[in-house]
């Protein structure tokens, strides 16, 4: 996961924003408590999304306590005092995914970047082992998904749908791991699948230019047979890619209607209905701008 799943602040109510910040800060604190101060740097919006989706239907109002942020002592934050389990799970998830990403980078990149990734990997190993011991199920899901992804990449899979499936299924499995069978689980699974798929496709879209230059694996380049920078900016390619992204984000937004919940649900609505779209527009503009030059 790559930090694409964000709120769209202009459309957020103040109390929703405060709640979002509190979730974010509490996750940061939990990371620090469980995996050491440095692991707080791994904090991501994606793990925050995981907590929101997971606790969406939880009963009762969350309880908060004021505290100071260790990175910025002048700032007073709200920390949630109940419901620590989902934060612990999210912290473990953050560490596990960061470790896999570092390993992935170590395998794929060259030179200085490879060294940096190897260092990160070595650094994360102890935390990873701790997280994997606490949440063996998470580690299994993540490892299985990485393996499937590598097979697809090695086979130069030319279908974006298939290439996105391991990440999407992994997120769906991670988000529903603790849930009992039933409607709520099925709805959450569908939303998580769509978000996972969107993140993967978004990352591929964002990297098209870079992968074209370096010869890295990119499902969109293969699916549309893109071999040159001009072809990359042609309307049919851009529209095809955007269509995949829009279909995915709209499906996530439509499905959210079936999920019940309180304040957290409104934040999710903001993320799925506006946040994803804003991010897509941002990357789309990136391609249009360079085109104009």
């Amino acid at each position: 996961m790559f930090g694409y799943v964000r709120i769209f602040k202009p459309e957020l109510k103040v109390r929703e924003y405060e709640e979002y910040k509190a979730v974010y800060c509490t996750l940061c604190k939990t990371l620090g408590k469980e995996y050491g101060l440095v692991s707080r740097l791994l904090l991501s919006y994606d793990a925050t999304f995981y907590i929101l989706l997971r606790d969406c239907a939880a009963d009762g109002t969350p309880q908060y306590k004021k505290g100071r942020c260790p990175f910025n002592p002048a700032k007073v934050c709200n920390y949630q005092t109940d419901c620590p389990e989902s934060y612990r799970a999210a912290a473990a998830l953050t560490v596990i995914l960061a470790y896999h990403k570092a390993r992935d980078n170590r395998r794929d990149s060259k030179g200085f970047k490879k060294a940096a990734a190897a260092l990160a990997c070595a650094f994360l190993r102890a935390s990873y082992k701790k997280a994997a011991k606490r949440y063996p199920h998470f580690a299994e899901i993540a490892a299985a998904s990485m393996e499937k992804q590598q097979v697809l990449e090695a086979a130069q899979c030319d279908s974006a749908d298939r290439a996105a499936d391991p990440s999407a299924s992994a997120l769906a499995a991670l988000c529903t791991a603790h849930m009992p069978e039933g409607e709520q689980r099925r709805v959450t699974e569908r939303i998580a699948y769509c978000v996972g798929r969107w993140v993967y496709l978004m990352d591929a879209y964002d990297d098209m230019e870079k992968d074209l230059k370096n010869g890295g694996y990119n499902p969109f380049l293969l699916q549309y047979g893109v071999t040159s920078s001009e072809k990359l900016r042609q309307d049919d390619v851009q529209q095809g890619v955007l269509r995949s992204l829009y279909m995915t984000e709209n499906e996530a937004a439509t499905t959210l209607a079936l999920l019940s919940g309180g304040v957290r649900r409104s934040i999710l609505e903001n993320i799925l209905c506006d946040g994803l779209n804003a991010k897509t527009a941002e990357i789309r503009e990136k391609y249009q701008d360079t085109h104009a030059k």
């Binding site: 709805v187 569908r190 279909m247 499906e251 439509t254 499905t255 079936l258």
Partner: protein
């Protein structure tokens, strides 16, 4: 039964107008085409029934009848007609009745195995449509899109295929929430100023000297 006001997401003192608006907004969401053809069609249908019941209960209560007891829903939504299009047993003439039954009961892997067993030469429009349905349920929207459009090309007159294609196609545009109040950019400000200036000049005054 759950509190009908909570189902509709409105306070107890909401006006009849607010009640209707809330009902319509939710009904529109639950009856979204892409939900009806996705794997959660049954959940959407149940939500819709729950909403109908809640609406009925509130209306009955406000009319002074006994509250919350009307279990038989008398209110039938006009938009409900096409809602069960996929769920009915209307495909007696179908070549793939068994595949359709499997897709509807959620056994998409089995359904796909049967479809894949059919040689490429004898794949009909219906084959592409069903393949698309399987992929849409799985969340593979790109391939679903391709297969739906192949089905429509082979059989342009078929309304079932066209509806599936259109529902996916409607989803392929950006911005789930389209109704957003327009902002005010530099151009708007300048043109408004110019208009105001013209108006002032009509009356003999001047807002922007020299213009």
């Amino acid at each position: 039964m759950a509190d009908p006001y909570a189902v509709l997401g409105i306070p107890r003192n909401a006006t009849d107008e607010q009640l209707k608006d809330a009902y319509r907004a939710l009904a529109r969401k639950y009856q979204e085409d892409s939900l009806a053809s996705g794997p959660l069609a049954d959940v959407a249908r149940r939500k819709m029934e729950e909403l109908d019941r809640a609406y009925d209960a509130i209306v009955a209560e406000r009319r002074g009848q006994t509250a919350y007891t009307s279990d038989q829903s008398s209110y039938t939504n006009a938009g409900n007609g096409g809602y069960n299009a996929y769920g009915g047993s209307a495909y007696s003439g179908s070549q793939f009745a068994d595949v359709r039954a499997q897709i509807n009961s959620g056994r998409i892997d089995d359904a796909e195995m049967i479809l894949d067993g059919i040689p490429i030469g004898s794949r009909t429009a219906e084959w592409y449509f069903l393949k698309g349905q399987i992929q849409q349920r799985r969340g593979w929207f790109d391939e679903a899109y391709k297969n739906y459009s192949a089905a429509c090309q082979r059989d342009p007159g078929n309304t079932e295929y066209a509806a599936a294609f259109n529902s996916l196609n409607n989803n392929s545009r950006g911005g789930y929430r389209q109704t957003r109040g327009g902002g005010c950019d530099a151009c708007d400000i300048c043109s408004s100023l110019l208009c105001a200036d013209c108006c002032c000049e009509c009356m003999g005054g001047d807002l922007i000297p020299g213009c």
